[in-house]
Symmetry: D2
Subunit: 288 residues, 4 copies
């Protein structure tokens, strides 16, 4: 079965990095299918950071999976690299968390079934019971973990247990309306994607459509971002907007916004699954 190797690298910029990396690949007979590279803004007296994403043909590549790490390590050490390798025949395992609104969930499931999202979905978790039948229709296991003030801590532990048990790589908050604790967030650094139903940094927090309507904005949007401890402040992966008019009441904004939310979330999830997103402190580098 044919597969590709994806290599993500970030390190301090210096001369010769591309040559060093691509020569390493060539030396092991690798065929580079695509290469993306970016150097972040340099300050006055310092070099920027170097980011690279390589996709290499698996067939014919001279390094076994188990030996890649030890062979690449000296080069990585020499240049102070953070690096990450993945193989396209081992899809990431994605959990979806959802509450009462299921439009993002259903969109992700449809796309997944249509082959747009290269992942396994071992489970969908919800604090609401309603999505069960639609989820199970896609033969995806559904877990209902109702949350109250009293049970919140306990249920989060249960969730972490389930995610751990199912060896989840990526957690998608598809309009999951519970705020996660720092413990949860820190268990999946840069691996929890949330969709916020506003154009961040506008309308952080609850009820953005109502507040957008009150402010009289002429455009509404949605933002997919990695979750960090601070609410709606994590690195942004993707954003988009759509026009609205004075005729649109709050309910219309909710309806129109759903369209943007699901589109923005699906694209962010796809990019993450394809290893196209690298963290650059509070920002992201996205190699589309």
């Amino acid at each position: 079965m044919s597969y590709n190797i994806r290599l993500l690298i970030s390190c301090p910029d210096k001369k010769g990095l591309i040559a060093a990396i691509s020569s390493f690949i060539a030396m092991h007979n690798g065929n580079i299918l695509s290469a993306d590279q970016y150097v972040s803004d340099q300050g006055v007296d310092r070099r920027g950071a170097f980011f690279m994403r390589l996709e290499i043909e698996g067939e014919g590549f001279g390094l076994e999976r188990r030996e890649f790490g030890s062979t690449f390590a000296p080069l990585a050490r020499q240049h102070n690299m953070d690096w990450y390798v993945s193989y396209t025949d081992i899809p990431k395992r994605m959990a979806i968390l959802v509450s009462g609104y299921d439009h993002c969930l259903m969109d992700l499931l449809w796309r997944w079934a249509a082959g747009e999202l290269d992942a396994e979905i071992p489970l969908v978790l919800s604090n609401h019971p309603e999505p069960r039948s639609r989820v199970e229709h896609y033969d995806v296991p559904f877990y209902h973990l109702p949350v109250t003030k009293e049970t919140k801590a306990e249920q989060e532990s249960a969730m972490l247990g389930l995610l751990n048990e199912h060896r989840v790589d990526l957690v998608v908050l598809a309009r999951y309306m519970q705020i996660l604790t720092p413990r949860f967030v820190s268990a999946y650094p840069y691996r929890i994607i949330n969709i916020h139903h506003s154009f961040l940094p506008a309308f952080v927090g609850a009820d953005p459509y109502r507040r957008a309507h009150e402010r009289g904005v002429k455009t509404i949007g949605a933002t997919a971002h990695y979750v960090t401890e601070e609410l709606d402040a994590g690195p942004i992966v993707h954003q988009d907007v759509t026009h609205v008019t004075h005729r649109d009441a709050v309910d219309d904004l909710v309806r129109i916004g759903r369209e943007v939310e699901r589109r923005v979330l699906a694209r962010a999830v796809r990019w993450h699954l394809e290893d196209r997103v690298l963290a650059d402190a509070s920002r992201t580098v996205v190699f589309e």
Copy 2:
């Protein structure tokens, strides 16, 4: 010379308003070229507000300009109307205020010369000297009023004097970087349009592109709004955005943003000049 009459009305909603108004026009032999109407969201126990814009053919209309007011007044009084009438053969008089960045200014002047903006431009005012030659190339008078902390109050008086002397109907802040005093603002209610170089309510105040870059947003925008006493908080007339990527440094955002700024401002100004914008408290009704 052919002309049209524009009639703007806002009042508490009730039954029969459209019939009453259009019958008044028909009774005086008016030909309605376009009619737009909107009723704002009603609360639970009250009716909403009614907004209407009519464009009537001047030729054949049975009321002289000087008698329109007195003839329409009883109907207006009966329904508690705020109303406004304008004639398309009397273009509005628009002043443009600008500082060091002239892209919005030059765009407005080009569109005006191309016939896109139906207005007279009696003057351009600036606290910088540079725009003079480009403005005068369009045969528009240019006034340079440099502003320092000490002269600010005095210069604002001079500006108000000039605007008054030139009987200005609309003040456009085309990237004018001085904050206007409440005295100035209150002299032109709903008649000062500002372009803010962010997607409001995100990034109110200074340096929005730098702050957008720091936040790592994937979209930047611009907002045209009426100026009120509170900074960047006035009713929004138009907004638009464009995509950016991690590759775009602050300078790129500035360049890309210029494109959006001038487009958004030009459209807002055009709508205002065509009497398409009505104030609905802190929001606007725009009959495109």
Copy 3:
């Protein structure tokens, strides 16, 4: 149960039409909730066409449904009106036809279940068996009518029979890949909406994504239009596009295009169901 009345009118333009119509409504104690009006471009020596859409509160309106027609008829006759009245408590009956690609179908079903589309869906028809389970999951009857060259005429008759039996008002071709015969088309004038996966009039006919790729376009789109006898030439209801790059192979265009197709079709269907679309010869008037 509260409901609204929608009145659509088109006729030759003349003075006093709005007054005549709104006075008719006022005379019968009707409360106009929204009014949209448009006069098409006039030629040099003739008046244009007048189009109007009114939404009137059902409660308190003085005419019974059965007497509306006879009461309105004299006015309609006097002004040569084509007119149409509908009541929002009687949703339209919409059939969806689909072939092998189900993204538009699933999107419509999801929106319908979410309350975005005010319609009944008495049946989904397909020449492919696959969609059955997903359709029935929404408790919508599914009919599989396979089509071959030999059975095409016969199956179309069967389809017309089913549509007739289920008293269908609107036929949506959600990527239905069979060309309908003139007999079928003429049975539902301005009541068959098709989604074509290109930006019409570019790429009429088969395989638009492949042809778009060959031409090297930088934007792809989709068009929702009423079906007429000539292929992909009917009046356009809605269009939208999205950017693509040289990196996007034909398969990517197909995937990216699906996003646009379902968005464009859903919006066109919604507008039709809300009686917002009027035919103006080969064009449409859309009162958003």
Copy 4:
């Protein structure tokens, strides 16, 4: 004075190209500031084409300009490369051709003066006299070459003479309404950019806005493309669109379209000047 070196390469794809190229740069002590790479779709039994764009810091690079060619030649020959090198301290020389509509011209001149377009503009050529004063206001020489049926061949020779004399690298047709002869086109392969005021391949040829209006489209667009012998059929560099409604008459489409035309053309010109556009037969590779 600091400068960068831009190296564009296209050749048949094979293993090790990136390593070979980047090692060549590293061997000569070059600092790669940005690297973009793309391999076009491969057919079933053949490899695709490889495209690369490198931007290298001038300072510290070990090859003199006059020796780059001879030093790089063996590697280029070995891999069958088409290649091109440019230096950012030698701006391209751009001529603008224009007819009666000056919006694209004025936009390019404004952007050029604002520093957005890194080029010299030795001349503007027009078959109309009107643009002279506005062009000369930017201190750019203006040549008026009126064209009639009889003088067309002669004037084209005069134009080619002027372009040659001014050592022009890029010819921009900023709404130049004369069709160029094959002789002219072949003198500047992939170096003539035209803006066509439609969304190609829709509405090839004359009067696209009128035809768009007749077809009743809901979106209009503009396309920047390299000029080839076949009318409006050259490789597309950039396209964009904007929404229109039934209310927009042909004149409105013209006005709204101007906005898109100038934006699309400016972006295509900028990309070309930055050596971001490579020809891939009838398509383009654009490294944004």
